[in-house]
Amino acid sequence: MNFKGSIFMRMNTETIKEQKQTTGTTHRITGCEAIVRCLLEEGVDILYGYPGGAIMPVYDELFKYQDKLHHVLTRHEQGATHAAQGYARISGKVGVAMATSGPGATNLITGIADAQIDSTPMVCITGQVGSHLLGSDAFQETDIIGISTPVTKWNHQITKASEIPEVMAKAFYIAKSGRPGPVLIDITKDAQFEEFDFKYEKCQAVRSYIPVPKINSKDIEAAAELINNAKKPMVVWGQGIILGDAEEEFKAVIEKTGIPSAWTILGASAIPSSHPLNVGMVGMHGNYAPNILTNSCDVLIAIGMRFDDRVTGNLATYAKQAKIIHFEIDPAEVDKNVKTDVAVLGNAKESLAAILPLLNKNSHTDWHNEFKKLYEIEFEKVIKNDLHPTKEGLTMGEVLNEINIQTKGEAAIVSDVGQHQMIACRYAEFNKTKSNITSGGLGTMGFALPAAIGAKMAAPEREVVAIIGDGGYQMTIQELGTIFQTKVPVKIVVLNNDFLGMVRQWQQLFFDKRYASTEMTNPDFVAIAKGYYIEAKKVTKREDLKNAVAEMIASENAYFLEVRVEKEDNVFPMIPSGASVSDIRLS
């Protein structure tokens, strides 16, 4: 059995045609069938979830519709949300997760919060106890609307089947439009059983909701003037470029103006790593040059990013000398953390297309040289030792380097949270957009394994490599079961240092090496993978690394590779928490 033959690859055009024919006409069906039909109307091909009492009627329909809609049984509801996120992040489509009431629903919360802070389009559907039982502390009843409110873009409880089509259409529209985010729809069991006349219309607008603010041409002109007069302009771009499908427009703007451009962690891969204007990552473990020169530039052009504290360090000393231009789709982000001189509201694709003709050609050669000089310092002090170490122990960086070489920078890298994540984001080579899938804002350990499953299913043609630490891996390790059952050929690399490495690094630097609860006594990870019948190997020596990575990449199946890395390596450069970006440390 191989992945290509598995059921979710068999969505054919006939079934899609069949669905289309039913649009606009009415049929008397049950609420639970309506839910499945709504998913089909929205073009959903895969969803992730876990059944249980209050959602069983919907699962019964999923059984009937299994040739059209593939449900992936994860091993925990949190895994379902992260898989849906991975699916959404690599495809740009809405990820869908489903769970039962009570604990099923509450287990979704971490993934929902992650999707909210990282602006990932996701629709979660939860079953709920019958409407007559609401508020009675019934079995597996929980107020999931109340619980999910602060971490959803929108949520809604359905108690009547007739509400289903309109609410579901609205859910998908809200999740995907404007600044994307998670939506939770809670459906009582009686609404699932109730029959009604089904008719589906896609949502085009919601009167109280303006997903994309109108572009103001005066702002575009003001921004262009600042950029054209700048001597030392610098761009910091974020995920807004990727979410806004604005990669080409962005490239055109920076190539015309020659502006050195740095990225936030979620902006990575929007343009290739090797692009000459790409000067690296900003933020706590970002590159030396863009962090230092943030405090030297005269105009800082922020595009689709939100000045997260991990990016800015101490706000009181962040880019104070610079005029700030902020291209942003979400008006609430403007002036939230950093006061802007010119805010350009709108989606990045349109704003950047609008400003392009107003911009002067430039190359900023001298200014680029400042970046180059600082890069050389970082290379000598950090990068060289990370990628081409001469010491005995293996480094995380050299593993990434080997993966880059063997995937030719074509892989999507799904990283978890911690030291390995910073190393992965710093060193992974990206040739394609939507290739850096990681939990940025929430920092959710356990994200990568299930997210890699979703990413590979959404883009089966792509190589998907999960890079995970030994800590985070064990938070969602049960998803190996999902990989085994679905045969999804994800490549899993665990960089094992027997420590919660990032916390240990902080303990070393800021808590006098008091390693409180960070050392891990780990199991035999290879044996665990083999227990799930997943090919597995462990590397402990440098001379074995190349072949092991080659074997993993060559495999047509899921593959687990454990690399024993140096126990107490640190990630540098580093901006200590609360310090200024220009106080970045190289050791």
């Binding site: 109340g146 409110t149 602060p150 949520n155 009167r207 109280s208 909701y209 008006p331 609430a332």
Partner: protein
């Protein structure tokens, strides 16, 4: 000073949906901000609700909070106003022993001078209603508390703005 606190009235026009109060109050709660008063009611537009919330925070913070409120899907539009930009009132009810009306002549004068209204009187108690500014209600409370108040309750602030809030226009634009 940027961080000086001021009293701000927040006006929020919303859809009339279950759970929206929770969503809006969570925005304050998450930032550790105490809500001084909160009132929800229908607005001048059919089917549109209006929240009036009073908070005491710096202006730089209220701007960001109104941005967060405005961004909620079911919020049509949120505004914040300074004290001088609104006409506002609060309302309160006092329940007081009826005997006092006859035993304490002073109470009748207080009622007259404060423009309070007697809502009901029976053998045991009478109910006094007063609408006005916070300080007027505070004063009335102080004066009556000498005699003993059986029950007291007070509404949140309600306010209309001197400037127009163009909600109808926004909604009309949607319908076209």
């Amino acid at each position: 000073m940027e961080n000086n606190k001021d009293m701000f009235t927040v006006s929020i026009y919303t859809e009339n949906n279950i759970g929206l109060l929770n969503r809006i109050s969570a925005i304050f709660q998450r930032r550790h901000i105490n809500i001084e008063s909160l009132n929800t009611s229908p607005s001048e537009i059919e089917g549109v609700s209006r929240f009036t919330i009073l908070v005491n925070i710096p202006e730089v913070q209220i701007k960001k909070i109104v941005g967060q409120i405005d961004k909620q899907v079911e919020v049509i539009k949120a505004f914040y106003h300074k004290e001088e930009d609104t006409i506002y009132q609060e309302s309160c009810l006092f329940k007081i022993k009826s005997d006092l009306l006859f035993e304490e002549r002073q109470i009748q004068n207080i009622i007259k001078d404060s423009n309070a209204n007697i809502v009901t009187v029976n053998k045991e108690f009478f109910v006094l209603e007063k609408s006005g500014r916070k300080n007027e209600i505070d004063l009335l409370y102080k004066e009556l508390s000498v005699f003993g108040i059986m029950q007291f309750t007070r509404s949140g602030r309600i306010a209309v703005t001197k400037d127009e809030m163009k909600i109808s226009k926004m909604l009309a634009a949607f319908n076209h």
